[in-house]
Every structure is written in C-alpha cells, then in structure tokens.
Amino acid sequence: MRNEAFKQKLGFGVLLLATLVVVIPVLAIVLLVLVKGWGALSWTFLFTMPQDGMRAGGIFPAIIGTFYLVIVSIAFSLPVGVMAAIYLSEYARDNALTRTINLAIINLAGVSSVVYGLFGLSLFVVFLKFGVSIIAGSLTLGIMTLPVIITTTREALRAVPHSYREVSRSLGASRWQTVRHTVLPRALPGILTGAILSVGRVAGETAPILFTVAAFYLPKLPTSLSDQAMALPYHLYVITTQIPGIPEGFRYGTALVLIGLVLVMNVAASVLRSRYRKRR
C-alpha cells in the first residue's frame, strides 16, 4: 500500500517536471525578449525608415508591410472561410464530398510553410503574373490561414443550439434566412476569435512571403497591391542572419514588436473566447 502511494508521488513528480521543462522556457523566452528588446523601442525605432543598411533608424516599413499583408489576406480568407464553414455546418450532408472537403482542410493545415511559398511563387507570382507583390503574398497567406478560419467558424456555428434553427424554419424562414438572421449573429464572437488568431499567424509567418512579397530593403513605403513590401518576420530573419553589425537591441526590439503583436492578438482572442463562453 505504501509502495503504491510512493510510486504515485514519484510518477506525479516526473509529470510535473516534464511540464516545468515545457513551461519555464516559454516564460523565459517572453521575459528575455521583453527585457532585452524594451530598451530599443522608441519613437524613432517604431516610426522611421531604416538607415545605414538597417543598422540605424527604425523598422516602420516592416510594420506597415506586415499590416498590409494582414489586412489583405484576412479580406480574402475571412469571407471564403466563413462561407466554407457555413456550407459544412448548415448545408453539407454526410457523404463522400463532405469527407473529401474535410480531408482537404486537414491537408491545407498540414502543408509546410515553405511549400506554400513555392505554391505562391508558382501560381501568383509567375503564372498569374502578379509578380512579387503584396497581392501575391497576401493570397498565399490567406490560403494558408483558411483552415484556421474554417475550423473555428465551424465550431462557432455548431455551438448555436439546433432548436433555434428549428424555430426559425417553422416560422417560414428559408435555410439561408435562418443562417443569416439567427445562427450567424449568435456565432459572431466565435468567428471573430478565429479571425484574430489568424491575424497572429499571418503576422508571424516568414517562409510563405520569402518568394512572394518580401523585400530586403525598400526606399519607399508600398502604395499599391502590386508593390513589394517589407515585413516584420522577414526583417528579423535578415538582420539576424544576413547583416553583421546590427546592434543587439535592434534585433531584440524587432523580435519584441513581432512577439508583442502576436501575443496581443492571442490574448484578445482568449478574452473574447471566455467572454463568449460565459454569455452562454
């Protein structure tokens, strides 16, 4: 009997240790980037153009570029993803086509980010002749985040009680009217959560934009969809691996801005999610 109790203590201790090995580095990373990068954050750093081969000045164009990429890619993936989820949740039957669609979504989610880059290069940059541009990069990123939007939206739609749909239909509303006026409004917070999470992902991805939009250095800010753009993750990659002599604070500062952006998105999504759950 005592042997078993001891075994349990030991076993649980090992599990705890494993968990700490996972969790402590996470906290360490966030704190480290915060501490080392905070000093670099200044008005100049955030809002001016880079100078002296990125060694001075700021990262403003990278921030703007990331901003554009996020906006355009969500403008594509949110409507398509929400409608795809509506199809799966409200219209699709349990047949081979639906299983194929689900399989396709899982596969889109599993494709390597650099393969997306190749795809974007081959389809958008070369075949459709968009060139290395914001539109090419955003569409590539948009397709990459489609699975996230579809999955979170589908869950949000499923969470709406079936009885609401029954009532709406029994009052003479069509299937689409029911979705539009009863189901969708109810699912909106959940959908928004998915959109916010997508923003976080899009902002942080490097490989898909390597060949489709990212530029090493642009003297001017992008003004149209067909322009190239700088972007935060690519910028961090470049100043870490390609350019010597960058002050350490710049590197950590860029990392901090990137991590900060992503974490703010994640926290916003979490808050939205828990408020939404409480309401129900």
């Binding site: 996470v26 795809a84 494709v111 980010s113 397709i143």
Partner: protein, 293 residues
C-alpha cells in the same frame, strides 16, 4: 416581385456558399498541380531514383548534381531527434495538465502552451542562433553550435503545443466511468492513469504525436537558422546539416527560373507535400477511429 428578387439573391448566395465549401479541395489540388508543373521538369535532368537517392547535392555546379538524400536524411535526423525529446515530454505534460494539475494552475499552464504555439518560428530561430547555438558550442566543445542537435531542440519545442493539446483532448475524452471503475476497485490515481487512461487515450495520443511530427517535419525558419548549411549526409547529431525545407528557403532566391536548380527545389516541395499528406491522412484516420470507439 420582391419575393422573387429575394429568391434569386438567395440562390446566388447559396451557390457562393457551395463554391466556398469546395474551395479547400480546389486549393489542395492547385497546390499539387502547381508544384508538379514546375517540379516535374527536374526529371529531364535526373531520374527519380537518382533524385531521391543521390548522395550529392551540388545544384549550381555544372552539370548539376541533384541528389536529395543528404537533405532527406538531414530532415529525418533533426525530426527524429525532436520526436525523441518532444513525444515523451509532451505526453507527460499533457497528463499532468489534464489529470494532476489543480484547476487554477491548469488554466495558467494551458495559456503557457498556447503562448508557445503562438511564438513565430523566426523568433525562435533568432533566439536559437543568438543564444542556443553559442551555448551548445561552448557546453559541448564543438567546432560550431550550428548542428542537427540545435535543430532538434528547436523543433521539439515547437512540436510540444500540438502534442500536448491533442493528447490532452484524447485524455479528457476517456469516459469518466473507466477511471471511476478502476478507483472503485482500489487503484490509485497514478495506477488508473497508467493502466486505464493511457489505454483509452492511446489512438489520440499517437495521432497527436504524428501531427506534431508532421508539423515539425515541415518547419522552415527556426530550423534553417540553427542547423548550419551543410548539405552533406549527416554522420552525427552534432554537426551541421540541411533539411529539405531549409534548402528551399535558402536557395530559391538564387535559383533562376527555368534552371534545373529551380525545378529541383520544386521537386523537393512535391516530396514535402506528399510526406505531410501521408502523415496527416494517417493521423486523421487514427483520430477518427479513436472517436468512433
């Protein structure tokens, strides 16, 4: 009159919805087709066997040597190292979070795992090359810290959130009656976990591990920044290697369109696509079998 306009609008919207539903299938097909379009031409320069099994990757020499075996082995080595570290760690952490942690800490722990999942890979790569690599060089007395081992450590870290959260789902899905039955027969919580819960959650845990592996096999930036640049067949874990993904990312900028090098990189993309397809298919089958039970 207004009703028929409304009906027409509704018809159009519902067709749009159907098209969007098919979009994912269309995109997967497009990815495969366009990879194939650029990648298949590599077979003009090298046979499939020589491509997949060739031991030398010198794409810019002439004639170009396009054997990706060193890259495949590089990916396998780094991934295997990551698996060995991440799978036991992740499963153990999942058990702790799902079964042992007090309620309040559980929320905190889950948040930490989510934060880990959210950290962009380029940031991890940056920290890896700035801190981990010099540390390994010093601590292990290596000529350079840019090694497969550094890559495995990074990838292990990145696989953990997937492994942990899906294993957690699998553990939580084990019916409470199984656990209560065991405890009623006098088993301790630990014994219940090891004898009963693991058994019930096993398909889900295996699927979680597979999905984690799939995710890191396709990882690009972090691994590229810490594994060095040596496209040679790896002999030890503590030397530089090159993965399939890093090769594409690092060399695509230099490969002119239409050259054998260009086509070869796309062919590598096809290989990656097929491998992740296979892994995801298997993991999904496992997850569905687990659920049906």
């Amino acid at each position: 009159m207004r009703t028929s306009f409304r009906r027409a609008k509704e018809f159009a919207i519902e067709k749009l919805i159907l098209l969007s539903g098919l979009a994912s299938v269309v995109f997967v097909a497009l990815i495969f087709v366009f990879l194939l379009r650029e990648g298949i031409s590599v077979l003009k320069h090298v046979s499939p066997g020589a491509f997949l099994g060739g031991r030398f990757w010198y794409p810019i020499s002439s004639p170009a040597k396009l054997g990706i075996l060193p890259l495949i082995l590089g990916s396998l080595l780094v991934t295997a190292g990551a698996v060995v570290i991440a799978v036991p760690l992740g499963i153990a952490a999942a058990f702790y979070i799902a079964e042992v942690a007090p309620k309040k800490t559980r929320a905190v722990l889950k948040s930490c795992v989510e934060v880990l999942a959210a950290i962009p890979s380029v940031v991890l790569g940056f920290l890896g090359i700035t801190l981990l690599v010099p540390f390994l060089k010093q601590f292990l007395g290596l000529p350079t810290g840019l090694t497969a081992f550094a890559g495995s450590l990074m990838l292990a870290f990145m696989a953990l959130p997937t492994i942990i959260s899906i294993s957690e789902d699998a553990i939580n899905a084990v019916p409470r009656e199984y656990k209560e039955g065991a405890i009623a027969l006098g088993a301790t919580h630990w014994q219940t976990l090891v004898r009963v819960v693991i058994h019930g959650a096993l398909p889900g845990i295996i699927a979680a591990s597979m999905l984690g592996i799939g995710r890191v096999f396709g990882e690009t930036m972090a691994v590229m920044m810490v594994t060095g640049n040596a496209a040679v067949i790896p002999e030890t874990l503590f030397a530089p290697v090159r993965t399939l993904t890093a090769t594409i990312a690092a060399e695509m900028g230099e490969a002119a369109q239409g050259t054998p090098h260009y086509h070869a990189l796309f062919a590598i993309g096809i290989v990656l696509f097929l491998i992740s397809f296979a892994i995801n298919l298997t993991a999904d089958l496992l997850l569905n079998r687990g659920r049906k039970r």
